[in-house]
Symmetry: C2
Subunit: 473 residues, 2 copies
């Protein structure tokens, strides 16, 4: 039994769909009315903006294991308590990596003025190892991709600082496929350092994974392979990658590279959990979440203060409007997404026995620009259950329903336990210009668009928490 899609029912001038179907209506009339109220309150509210402003401006960068991350845990916990939620800090151990000095200069290059060097702008990738404190000096080898690197082989690569100059596809991103563009390029950041190290590279540079052209290096995580030497790894800006490619094409280029990050012992930290208990099925939870940690270069406004803020806003709105969801709405501020999602993995482990009671999980982790709708990982018949959600969200231009290839990083471990996952589909055209850079700051967030994201989270989560039928798993 399938309901007609609502747009088709409208086109045929048919009466409302429940008449066509033997299945119960997925949402009560009251729930539908409350969803509309939540949508309006969200787009006109400013609680979410106040939250992300505090996280970004007052607390600042929140790298896992840092004092700021701990302050953020305490802050979010206190705010959720003030909303009347049942708040728990769930412990997890997180990586503790601390950026150090990071400088690079070219000490030899074609056309060099006597006695001078040229500055190269870069930033260490987490969890890069350090160079010697005084730095290392080596010839630079620039390649466009793994194919070129492998073709050169150990003879040409050994002893070199290797630049993997693979460009983020800005045209793809500019057409709304930022996530796809990121996915294509990020492989160089993820496995490039170990790939080059296996061929004898003494350090690896990657072209920043992201758009824009503002001499901003984009940090991010690299993954050292167990079978490769760990070499210092950094991202250069697009401009500096171009410069290195141009100069190495002309003649020998030598770089002096200093990176002095430290990897400290894992540190205790927390996921912040705030429950707004369900009136009928308190044991069943619908998660709304973002990650509380951020990279250290900016202030973590779009990645992902915004996601935490709109999740907090869901609870704030439901409470403000005096609504009582049938299932529990659980706000989660995840810890350490940027450094490997230790918090999310710990949560999935700790709550594995309750997986069946995790009715659904949402995460917002693609910034705060205008949302187009709701993305979901799940069975095709999820779509018709979301149609009324889309109808409500169409009021702020977020009526699109789309399957997505995989769940957000922090709810991925729950998806692996067959929990259905949902997310706002944000306009990501500029997201990757700022993502993981010093320019991830509060001004990148438009308060109105943030409210629209809060609407997506609140309406979807509330609908799921009140769904009258099971969600396909």
């Amino acid at each position: 039994m399938h309901r007609l899609p609502t747009f088709l029912a409208a086109a045929l001038l048919l009466p409302a769909s429940p008449l066509l179907s033997q299945t119960p209506a997925p949402y009560s009339e009251q729930t539908l009315a409350d969803m509309a109220k939540l949508q309006q309150a969200a787009v006109h509210g400013d609680y979410a903006y106040q939250q992300v402003a505090h996280l970004a401006n007052n607390i600042g960068p929140r790298l896992s294991g840092s004092s700021q991350a701990q302050k953020a845990v305490e802050y979010v916990a206190a705010e959720l308590k003030a909303l009347g939620l049942e708040v728990t800090l769930e412990p997890c151990m997180v990586p503790r990596w601390v950026r150090g000095e990071e400088t690079a200069v070219l000490t030899q290059y074609p056309g060099q003025a006597e006695g001078t060097t040229q500055k190269i702008v870069l930033t260490a990738l987490g969890p890069s190892v350090a160079t010697p404190p005084e730095g290392l000096t080596a010839p630079v080898l620039s390649v466009n991709d793994f194919h070129e690197l492998n073709a050169l082989g150990r003879d040409k690569v050994a002893g070199k600082i290797v630049l993997l100059n693979h460009a983020f596809d800005e045209r793809m991103a500019s057409q709304g496929q930022g996530g796809q563009a990121y996915g294509q390029a990020v492989i160089y950041r993820a496995i490039g350092p170990s790939t080059a190290a296996r061929l004898g590279a003494v350090a690896t540079l990657v072209r920043s994974v992201g758009g824009g052209a503002n001499r901003l290096p984009h940090t991010g995580q690299t993954r050292y392979a167990p079978d490769a030497p760990k070499v210092p790894a950094a991202a250069v800006t697009a401009e500096d990658a171009d410069l290195l490619a141009a100069l190495t094409a002309q003649g020998p280029v030598t770089m002096h590279l200093v990176l002095t990050p430290q990897t400290l012992p894992d540190a205790p930290s927390f996921n912040v959990i705030g429950d707004l208990k369900g009136s009928e099925h308190p044991e069943q939870v619908v998660i709304v979440s973002g990650h509380l940690d951020s990279w250290d270069l900016g202030t973590g406004a779009i990645d992902d203060g915004a996601g935490v803020a709109v999740s907090m806003e869901v609870a704030h709105l439901v409470k403000s409007l005096g609504l009582h969801p049938r299932r529990t709405i659980r706000v989660v501020a995840w810890m350490s997404e940027e450094n490997g999602s230790a918090g999310a993995r710990q949560y999935a482990k700790d709550h594995a026995a309750e997986a069946a009671d995790h009715f659904a999980a949402m995460e917002s982790d693609l910034g705060a620009d205008h949302p187009l709708g709701v993305g979901y990982v799940g069975r095709a018949d999820t779509r018709e259950l979301l149609a009324p959600v889309a109808d409500v969200l169409a009021a702020n231009g977020a009526g699109l329903l789309q399957t997505v290839a995989q769940a957000g990083a922090d709810i991925g471990p729950l998806a692996d336990l067959h929990v259905p996952t949902f997310e706002p589909i944000q306009d990501s055209r500029t997201y990757f210009n700022y993502h993981h850079t010093a320019a991830d700051t509060l001004d990148k967030i438009d308060p109105h668009a943030l409210g629209e994201n809060a609407a997506v989270m609140a309406v979807t989560a509330y609908a799921l928490a009140n769904l009258e039928v099971p969600l396909p798993r």
Copy 2:
């Protein structure tokens, strides 16, 4: 006697204008044909791009008095000699200011996590004095403009680090009025530090003068007034200005500021002069120019490697096409525009006696984006003499003729001696996003648009060098 504007003649289907007039035609048929050839050669050429690529990538930043500036002098002189020009290095003494360490952290602010600080991104203005080597620590006071600052008075300002948070008008710039927007905001950079120092400020920060939002500080020159204490002066990014304004509105904010630039004794340097001698009036010169020095953060591609490159291209094109201008075309690469135009002032002084023989002067110093046409400072009747130039340049969309309020910085001293001045009118919508930042790099130049700028310089200069009538002065 006025010629009809050419577009009007065309509309009326009248024959070519010389028939309508008793005055001699301003350009011979041969000159008009050669102008058209120059236009085509310029837009299809790549000499200018090769020049700016070398200046930006191989030589790099060229702050006055630096080794790179000297290398650039030698490079441009050699290139002009290779083109067959008579090359002279004309000495000038230039300021020598060297950037040092520049860091700022907030040591106290509302919501601060225990034991942490927040980083503020800034860069010293030239020729800022230094803080003590260990830095200075003081409360931050943020004001939006001079009115607010003066209203607070010495009681509130003394002992503070003052932020002058006056925003560059990005909407104005986005509508093609970048120069106007710059002019409105730059006053804060120019006189802000001394204005605040007179009220007892211990250091002055200005919001970066420029657009974009990429956490890029824009350096530039400040002017210490003789009657004010010299206090350290820096530009913060737009993001950091917003942050400081937000935090100071909430409670006390304290900054630890370290700026260690040095002002060294003035250094000998040079304007590079290359003459392509006129066939009839070698003593009369038409200058084509840009400034060879740059700020030190980027590589001086758009400010103003491009201006030097298109000026060199004028000589290259005239030589390549085997043309022989009636007057001398003089290529000038000015030194030290950024630090007060010492080179241009010296030139005007040295050549004051020949002012009458300076037939015209052009400078390109507003980047390298698509040119819309030719701007000029001069009498209204200059316009009709330029009409055939505009007709030729219309082939690359640069047919606009417009008076401009003042001559370019380096040809201003010549304008003061009544030399008519001309300049390309560039699309400046993004120029001030990169200007004086680390992101003034080669990738900001589109080779085709650079060729269009070379066309404006070459066609205009060649027309002036062959003008059959006097130019109104």
